[in-house]
Amino acid sequence: MSENKKIARDLERTRDVTSLKALYQCAAISRRAFVSRLAALGISASVAGVIVAGAPVAVAASPKRGGRIRAAAGGHGPDDTLDPARFNSVINFGRGEQFYNGLTRIDGSLVAQPDLAESWEPDSNATEWVFRLRKGVEFHSGKSLHAEDALYSIQRHLDKDVGSGAKAFVENVAEGIVEDKHTVRFKLKGPDADFPVILGTYQMKIVPAGTTDFSTAPGTGPFKLVEFKPGVRSIAHRNPNYWEEGRPYVDEIEWFGISDHLARMNALLAGDIAMMSGLDPKAIRQIDRSAGVRVVNTKAGQYTNFVMMTDRAPTDSNELRLAIKHLQNRERILKLIHKGNGMPGNDQPISPVDPMYCDEIPIRPFDPEKAKHHLKKAGMDGSTIKIHTSEVAGTGAIEQALMLQREAGKIGLNVKVQRDPGDGYWSATWGKKPFFMSGWNMRPTTNIMLTLAFTSDAPWNEARWKNARFDELLTLGRASLDPVQRKNIYCEAQTLIHDTGGVAIPCFIDYLDAMSDKVKGFLPVPLGPLGASQWPRSVWLEG
């Protein structure tokens, strides 16, 4: 078989939609083969058309009504809550998307789409945003949605007593004004071109003004709460009064957590559940081999990284940091540790699924010679350093540390790997020891990700890296509404982290979920597992 045909055959078997798209676009496979391969991956023909066109357009599929879906997230605990301000895990995000809506919704290309807000516009310097709400939307209780509800829901995150995890997102809001029953204006302290995307995040759900008791999940969402036992399960019934025409499709959702990943997988294989989040990469072959279930692999920007604190020895030497970065065998880490489910990283946190990804920075190659050169310049040839890791740091955190130990040993750097207990890792190790592993989920916008973890005074700047030019760039980026200008600004910012930052990011890791073949209409969104939990409004059961 010719070389090209072999490559095409191997790539055709891939579960990577991006590779398939590339194949199709360079005419290596026919459209028919492309669409049929996508169908085998569980993506309907119409969505395949969308992928080919490349535009995030509403899909005209032929959904079937009815049925009951039982789905499981990767674990829960006694802190299950129905208060959007306290949502911080997949089990809660899933409930958020069942019972509530936000002003906007973030789609698969990380663009803000209208949800409860029909339209919005900024003023010329992105410091004032006006949102126009949909008319005729009702909460589950029957009360109509008005602008005061939107204002209350956003401003409550600033209230100390609410204890919201999303307070930082809303701190930029100086004032909110209800202009009329369906219009609300937000005046920001500083410009923010991404404000509509922020309003689409998990915690920014709209509840009736004055709500303090969330036990009935008072939202406008596609499902109504029927039963909720924290730490056990929730049951939701279809909201017949839902404002989105025709949706949702299923009649009932039963949603709970199964912490043990083996038990979760067994439940899927036995038919006890129809969808699950968080599939262990080692279990992919098992799911592939079983009939009636499939793996859903979403390219995402989450990563497990090495942190080298820049304010303490020995990692304060940029030469040592460059040595560590050059010791990353990215392809090998991706293939062996993450079983090919991911994309190579470039020591900066913005991934290819993010619209602001800078592809001009060449991916740092695995270069032990150069690493040794940097090591000598740092004066650390033959020395010993210790890296702290734990399985709670991130997917593959221990394995990546061990691989570094191996590669470093070959060039004369002795890396001791210390496995710290997972309990209390974030208080005792993270941000305290000079060299440790960490892990990050991607954030909805480039600005949020960079501001949260890389600006000089950010509390989560795990490497304590300070760069005045970087802070300046971010301020410029927030204020600019011009996409080309923003791309250039963020490109320079990414280059700064790539060159001098305190993090080594070998690769980005896909979200791996699994579901029954009867579940259709699932749309991948790279922000979180199970399509950033947006599945309740779009899935249906067939077959």
Partner: protein, 315 residues
């Protein structure tokens, strides 16, 4: 007799108090606290401070402990820090589930274990004895999660006769309840039966070496009657103790089965609460487990006393 019981109950209360202090100290020593645990990735220093304030975690440990103790003595278990719910509400459902599972398992495992032990002790060294000895040794050596996973693989995934998980305890019928609980009960039975059966066998064989048994054999009493009528009651002491320990384990230690089958029981609740540093919940669970142990062992000792006339009427 009643004096003995009363004295034991008194000692039990003191034990409970000591356990509560130990649990409190143990949880306090662990790094991190409930504020960081609730907030997870969104734990900025000010969000953490806000929650700490709300939950009064800034008060010194001793003050918090005494506060909790006074509430307990009044019958108030307090509020869960992480879930913001009444603990009594959270526990009541889980306790019921745990007791149901423990009760059904005990109903199956105890008679089975006693029967196996008796059958083995009837003719030591015989075929039945060897079968029982080998099988119990095997069951003791195989880890519980392995048995659980194998049972799930066979009965749920391949044969699809039984469900792989039992997350819901709202049963529509007895039949459905039986199907849901079958695998957890089977797994737990295999773990506890072995221990009880071996102890029963050992205790009875030990009693069988006494002179009065030799007398009964010489008199020509049939084997079965000897074991059941003459030997069993004297062997009750150790047997009943081992049964009590296993029952207490069924109430407090079945974390693995609860995890694998997603069964909403008390043991998993406590483990989750420790991970979240939810002190009141951890304490409440610890008190329940400790009380279960004390109660079961007390009953075991009383039964042992009742069965032995020499202890019933001490001279």
């Amino acid at each position: 007799m009643w004096l003995v019981v009363l004295r034991r109950l008194g000692l039990g209360v003191i034990t409970l108090w000591v356990v509560s202090v130990l649990v409190f100290v143990g949880t306090e020593i662990l790094p991190g606290d409930v504020a960081e645990a609730i907030l997870g990735q969104s734990a900025t220093p000010e969000a953490v401070a806000a929650i700490r304030d709300q939950l009064h975690l800034d008060r010194p440990a001793l003050v918090r402990y005494v506060g909790w103790l006074t509430n307990l003595l009044r019958g108030d278990l307090g509020m869960s820090l992480a879930a913001n719910m009444e603990i009594s509400e959270m526990i009541s459902g889980r306790l019921k589930n745990t007791l149901v599972l423990a009760g059904l398992t005990a109903a199956l495992a105890v008679p089975l274990a006693l029967g196996m032990g008796l059958a083995a002790a009837m003719f030591p060294g015989g075929r039945v004895d060897r079968l029982v000895t080998v099988s119990t040794l095997f069951l003791l050596s195989v880890p519980e999660f392995f048995i659980a996973a194998t049972l799930v693989l066979i009965f749920a995934v391949h044969l699809q006769w039984l469900p792989a998980i039992t997350y819901s305890t709202e049963y529509e019928s007895i039949g459905q309840m039986a199907r849901s609980l079958a695998l957890p009960i089977l797994t737990l039975t295999t773990s506890v039966v072995a221990h009880m059966a071996r102890m029963t066998r050992a205790a009875i064989i030990n009693v069988m070496t006494s002179p009065y048994i030799e007398m009964a054999i010489l008199k020509g009493v049939p084997r079965g009657r000897i074991v059941l009528r003459h030997a069993l009651l004297n062997a009750i002491g150790p047997v009943v103790n081992v049964v009590a320990l296993n029952l207490a384990y069924l109430v407090s230690g079945v974390v693995i089965v609860e995890t694998v089958f997603a069964y909403p029981g008390l043991a998993k609740l406590m483990v989750d609460a420790v991970t979240r540093r939810d002190m009141p919940l951890v304490q409440a669970c610890a008190m329940i487990f400790c009380s279960a142990y004390i109660l079961f062992i007390l009953v075991a000792d009383v039964l042992a006393i009742l069965a032995n006339p020499r202890l019933r009427h001490p001279k």
